[in-house]
Symmetry: C2
Subunit: 309 residues, 2 copies
Amino acid sequence: MQFYVGIDLGGTFIKGGLVSDRGEILKFERVPTRVQDGSAVILSDLDKMIETLVKGLKGKLMGIGIGIPGLVDSKRENVVIAPNLGWKNVEVADALKEKYACPVVLANDANAAGLGEAKFGSGAKYDSSVFLTLGTGVGSAIILNGKLFEGNCSAGGEVGHMIIRAGGNQCACGRCGCYETYASATALIRETKKAMLENRTSKMWEIKSVDNVCGKTPFDYYNTDETAKKVVDEYVENLTIGILNVANILRPQAILLGGGIAKQGKFLTEKVDRLLKQWIYAGELGPEVKILTATLDEAGVIGAASLNM
Amino acid sequence: MQFYVGIDLGGTFIKGGLVSDRGEILKFERVPTRVQDGSAVILSDLDKMIETLVKGLKGKLMGIGIGIPGLVDSKRENVVIAPNLGWKNVEVADALKEKYACPVVLANDANAAGLGEAKFGSGAKYDSSVFLTLGTGVGSAIILNGKLFEGNCSAGGEVGHMIIRAGGNQCACGRCGCYETYASATALIRETKKAMLENRTSKMWEIKSVDNVCGKTPFDYYNTDETAKKVVDEYVENLTIGILNVANILRPQAILLGGGIAKQGKFLTEKVDRLLKQWIYAGELGPEVKILTATLDEAGVIGAASLNM
């Protein structure tokens, strides 16, 4: 058995695992990310976590992989920008490389998670897959020939910032109409609240306040409330437009959905699949693109570890 | 020197060249495509053309490449669908392979042309590029690590059928809002005619009739007519939205524009570049995506030949 460390460095928690070459988490650690204390403190916490993970390790550590919420140039082992951490050009790899005498690879966190899913999760059967996390935004990872595809200087793979409705919803990135303003959990919650406020008789009011809306709400009421059904159907349509674009451009074998919304499972994927089959270029003459949900509990940690596999 | 045959099998002409390993056309042939006479006649014309091209060849023929206007599964050496030729599941490669005792590779025509540009044209300096032909539709080719990327069963690379304005213009593919309904020469001509009919005082009426509008018209009047300027500016904005999406997803080193509209050269690319720099994800922190025009006269023929290089 070979051993790897995978770190998922999030804006809220640092999670880390000692991971086997079969993608099993042998040891797991989690600490809050002390963003307000600056990069040196975070790097020190991260170092301590790795120390704990490799303590007593019977075997060679093959590599450390770190997923970071930002634009990472994995060749230069540098974080170009990570707004949630307040980082700009923080050197992460050098000290760790020397101390642990192994390769240290950085990647964008969604890229790492997507690689984890592609290697050990629902994408394991496929050579090419695209992973989409439906969360605060829409994170994404492109896997081609079993490898992470990151584009020039690792700046590609930003499917969430593909414009699907030019002139549409304002995105945090500055543009209007980006996919993530329609397909993220944030977007679904925003539309659910809006629909509730416009329809005071909606059954969704059973949850009392729009403050209680979460990504599950409209799905919970899908079969009993027209307003909820409309919100979900429109969300699925927008979600599928982006999936269609990815399918027409990259034609992967599978598209894997992760994040909170993907917990809806087949209820969601079957709806997406039905629309995609209608819309996809060349219809049934082309190869199918499977729509699946992600299956790993800690894709970020396993994926970060797999950056060195 | 090594010798290759490249064929650009279009809906109007079959063009073919004997091409050197440096991308030079040593011999060139062109005949009308007799679409109405069926696939057997076209295949026979194609065979005769290859005979002419290799006649007296001093050296071994390394391979034959054929660009086809349709969905081609290059692994199965089969044309899946080519509406302009009326072809469905026509076997193209087997007979040629046997007769000329060399590999025969098929590809979508835009893919072949893009590969030609990437190897011997304006993309030659770059490992990764995306080629967009702005013609009747928007054809495209994705080159990654110097190789044509076609997606599963060669069904990817359909950038023209990425939706950029959901619910927008009707596309021939059945969907609404596809990129090619905004960025093709057809789209520019349609919008120019519409603008002329709505503005009877436009200087563009110097061409007498909307029937005389071509992709050049609004560019010719850009500096002297507000209506023409507006048409071009809107066209450039839509063109750039699709380019932005490609850049954010694939982050190639360069995007190469071909087809009639690309003859506007720097006038066009500088406008696109300016918008792209404003819009691209991570702004100037990420690597630049160069916007260039295609430079090869017969990219389709040279590219088809290069399928075997």
